[in-house]
């Protein structure tokens, strides 16, 4: 009796492990397919390019006014905190490099990814899930329209372009708003502040900003798309799909952040 319970328990662990591995394999396979299509010239049909332009507009351009306000508010607050702490611990000479590292390497790409995830990630997850439930994806398949080329690739590319460009914009606004704080708190003139930042800037800061933004852009679109695609055939499954997709996306964003910190500390 106890033996059969133990066997069932071991079997359930095996089942769970197998289904976990199968889902990991499926997700990696889908990612690999998207990457292959990304580098193929034939993926870029006029229809795909039109979707790409629309997606860049919806993801990057539409958010700019809100984004500038948020960058300014967060910028002055966070840069202010960094400067106050640096002054408190007698690190005034290091303020430039602290600001540049904090803004370019960490905060700008991370915050941009979070904002785009909340705004566009959730929308794309819902859009793909609705199309799936409405059988619109089966229409596209029936007419031999490659889902990766027509639907997924424009969204992934727009995610990469949008997060990279918005992260750069965010960093610029954040550093500019930081000047306002230094002006009032430290009486620092613009020339000194500018030199402080320029002397601290290194090529590696741009590389980290670029690589992190690309990685964030990729997962911010890829995970919601995959989650929408896996939605079961019922309208009630759509909110569950969005919920699962967003949880996985946030885990992935934090995972990238941790990996990047580990790599930078090497």
């Amino acid at each position: 009796m106890q033996n059969s319970k133990l066997i069932k328990f071991i079997e359930s662990i095996g089942d769970a492990a197998l289904s976990f591995l199968a889902s990991i394999y499926e997700a990696l396979h889908f990612t690999a397919l998207c990457l292959i299509h990304l580098v193929q010239a034939k993926s870029y049909s006029p229809a795909m390019r039109m979707v790409l332009i629309k997606q860049i507009y919806f993801t990057a351009v539409g958010i700019i006014p809100l984004f500038i306000i948020l960058a300014f508010l967060f910028g002055s607050v966070f840069v202010g905190i960094v400067i106050v702490l640096a002054a408190k611990y007698n690190l005034q000479s290091e303020i430039g490099s602290i600001l540049v590292t904090f803004v370019l390497n960490e905060f700008a790409p991370f915050f941009t990814a979070l904002l785009i995830s909340l705004r566009s990630g959730a929308a794309i997850n819902t859009e793909i899930a609705v199309m799936n439930v409405n059988k619109e994806l089966s229409t596209l398949k029936h007419y031999d329209i490659d889902l990766i080329d027509y639907l997924f690739l424009p969204r992934i590319i727009s995610g990469i372009i949008s997060i990279t460009s918005l992260a750069i914009l965010f960093a610029i606004i954040m550093l500019m708003s930081g000047y306002i704080f230094t002006l009032f708190y430290m009486n620092m003139d613009l020339h000194t502040y500018k030199n402080l930042l320029l002397n601290a800037l290194e090529f590696s800061n741009f590389v980290v900003l670029l690589l992190k933004s690309i990685a964030f852009g990729f997962v911010t679109m890829m995970i919601p798309i995959y989650s929408g695609l896996k939605t079961q055939n019922a309208y009630t499954a759509i909110p569950i799909s969005v919920l699962n997709g967003m949880v996985k996306l946030f885990i992935a964003i934090f995972f990238i952040e941790v990996i990047s910190l580990l790599l930078q500390s090497l």
């Binding site: 229409t139 029936h142 007419y143």
Partner: protein
Amino acid sequence: MHEQYSLISSETPVISNLNMLENIALIKEFHEHMPTSQAQNIAREYLQKIDLGHIANYRANQCTSLELFYVMALRALMSQKEDIIIVTPLLLIKKIETMNAIIETLKRLNDGNKNILILDTHSNELYYKGCRCNIIE
């Protein structure tokens, strides 16, 4: 495995995030790499041919079931596949008395002489009375 026919059925609805013009033009843009404006001009001409030019910029929720049916038919006609299969059109089109007008419109649109096959059930036989088409039981 790709089907050798274009299907018009409840399994192949129009794409809801595209307007009717984009829905029709999509096939040519994607398969023939036709520029968007050119493909949309062709789509617009076909819509005007059946007096539906006004729905060009409508989304699916703004169209009647008959208008959506014609858009699905035009989309199928844009495809390079020779055969078009329409499955139980009466499930797609609400409130019609006869299929006669629809079949005549399809004939008018079908200038590429594609083979159009309508699959329907016996219970809908009455709707096809007087139609100028071959009925195979």
